[in-house]
């Protein structure tokens, strides 16, 4: 109980300290608010701009979720194909690496050319950022099956399909979920960057990336900071969701989750 309380108090104290430091720096340097707004100005801006920020978050969430799902889905099946045979892996893995090495800033304009400004391009960019960790981790999971378990399935005269279903997929789950966790951390960032590079203000409303540009060009710095805060919140919600799924699927059996006493 005491330890639990402490685990809350410690970060709270740090937080208060950081905010105090922020005020102090602003006070001493005397910089105007459009360079460095104070915490209360940021909060006020967040409140004033709440309707804009909320719809920006909704829009960005949509890109993040769709891109994330695409990354996870495509990544899983691609990994299954790569794990299925060393020959398929040898033929395709280098090109997946090439895709991964391609910077998004270069891919973004290409996507805009192909898919136009807006959601499809944002989803594509989020996908590009998130799918590699899923593929890399899950492939690892599919190829590193316990040899003894494989022999057990051999003794059972299991078909290839049964082996995949009852051995390879569950065995790859921890790896897949690790990849998914990374993709989940990257997805909101991907969607924001995507929005920044390829977003469009549909009906005068943009996503978080777009609003960043808008606030910046108007020198509405407190609102810009508030946008950053909103992005953080989105990230936490996303990572929280993925972590929950991770826990849900593994807590009963996987070493990383079970409580050993």
């Amino acid at each position: 109980m005491k330890a639990r309380l402490l685990s809350w108090i410690q970060p709270a104290v740090t937080g208060i300290g950081l905010i105090a430091l922020w005020y102090l720096i602003k006070k001493i340097s005397g910089v105007p608010s459009f360079i460095l707004p104070s915490p209360d100005e940021v909060l006020r801006a967040a409140w004033d701009e709440r309707s804009v920020l909320i719809s920006a978050v909704m829009l960005t969430s949509r890109g993040a979720v769709l891109g994330f799902l695409a990354a996870v889905g495509v990544g899983f099946f691609l990994a299954m194909a790569l794990g299925f045979s060393p020959r398929i892996k040898a033929s395709f893995y280098p090109y997946i690496l090439v895709l991964q090495m391609m910077p998004v800033t270069i891919l973004a304009p290409v996507f805009v050319l192909w898919l136009g400004q807006g959601l499809p391009s944002i989803v594509a960019i989020t996908f590009m950022i998130g799918f590699f960790p899923v593929v890399a981790n899950t492939t690892m999971g599919f190829v590193s099956v316990d040899r003894n378990l494989q022999e057990l399935f051999l003794m059972c005269k299991a078909t290839r399909g049964q082996e995949v279903r009852y051995l390879r997929i569950p065995g790859a789950m921890p790896y897949f979920l690790t990849g998914m966790k990374i993709a989940g951390t990257l997805a909101p960032i991907g969607a924001i960057v995507g929005d920044f590079l390829a977003g469009s203000a549909q009906g005068g409303q943009g996503g978080i990336g777009y609003m960043t540009i808008a606030y910046f060009s108007q020198l509405k710095t407190p609102a810009l900071f508030a946008t950053g805060l909103t992005a953080c919140l989105l990230g936490f919600v996303f990572v929280g969701g993925v972590n929950w799924l991770h826990w849900r699927l593994l807590h009963q059996w996987h070493d990383s989750m079970v409580k050993k006493e």
């Binding site: 399935f153 051999l154 003794m155 299991a158 009963q252 059996w253």
Partner: protein, 254 residues
């Protein structure tokens, strides 16, 4: 008596790749209902011999015939109990026992009945819903044995199943194994380092020498089944124990 042997090992030799000869000229005929233990120095090829019978690896020379078939084709008759329990960590105890039945395509109701029966037999009915990590080493081994016997194999291959357990647990599991065999008879092949275990369980003990693995001696164990736990304290038992130990020492000193 004149039945053809269930398992016939014909001058089998084995080497891995271009490595040294691991097994050389192994010749053994095993009748249905026998329980044969392999004992010998570490690295002499006991596990390899078991894996050859299971068809998990191929003989380099000679042949194995199991009920008239090649080992690979005879897999349906056999099951393997691996050294570590080799359970699927994501399946509960009951689901682990069910796995071979599931893979074989048995209908659900039959599977459930069989699983319940097997867990009863190994004394783990109360642990059916636990995960492997929640079990002790001895319990895990029981699950592994229940899983192997769920398909009622004619031949059971066990590779040092109780090697990692303390002596008390091992004695208990030995007694249980005999009790299970009395109910669901199978022909057993058993690898062990424990002479007591070998004598207590087997109808025959095959002593192997190392480098390359050859059959050095075959010791007949005359005790009738059922064998009470106290058999282990009788002079006849202790005599045979001494004889087996001597044979083992002889191959080790060569």
């Amino acid at each position: 008596m004149n039945q053809p042997p269930l398992v016939k090992i014909n001058r089998v030799g084995k080497r891995f790749g271009s490595g040294p000869l691991v097994l050389d000229g192994v010749e053994l005929a095993v009748q249905r209902g026998e329980f044969v233990s392999f004992i010998g120095p570490s690295g002499c090829g006991k596990s390899t011999l078991l894996r050859l019978i299971a068809g998990l690896t191929e003989a380099s020379s000679g042949e194995l015939v199991i009920d008239g078939m090649t080992p690979e084709n005879a897999r349906e008759l056999m099951f393997f109990v691996f050294q570590d329990a080799n359970l699927l960590p994501w399946r509960r105890v009951a689901d682990n026992v069910e796995l071979p039945l599931l893979l074989r395509g048995d209908p659900t109701v039959r599977r459930q009945e069989r699983v319940a029966h097997m867990l009863e037999v190994v004394g783990l009915a109360a642990a059916a819903q636990r995960f492997p990590w929640q079990l002790s080493g001895g319990m895990r081994m029981r699950v592994s044995i229940a899983r192997a016997l769920s398909v009622a194999p004619q031949i059971l291959l066990l590779d040092e199943p109780f090697g990692a357990l303390d002596e008390m647990t091992r004695d208990k599991l030995n007694e249980d194994l005999l009790a299970i065999r009395a109910r669901d008879p199978f022909t057993g092949f058993f690898v062990t380092h424990s002479v007591t275990e070998a004598v207590y369980l087997s109808t025959r003990i095959v002593v192997l020498s190392a480098n390359p693995g050859r059959i050095a001696q075959v010791i007949e164990v005359p005790f009738a089944y059922p064998r009470p736990a106290e058999l282990r304290e009788t002079p006849e038992f202790l005599q045979l124990l001494a004889k087996t130990s001597r044979a083992l020492r002889a191959v080790r000193n060569n």
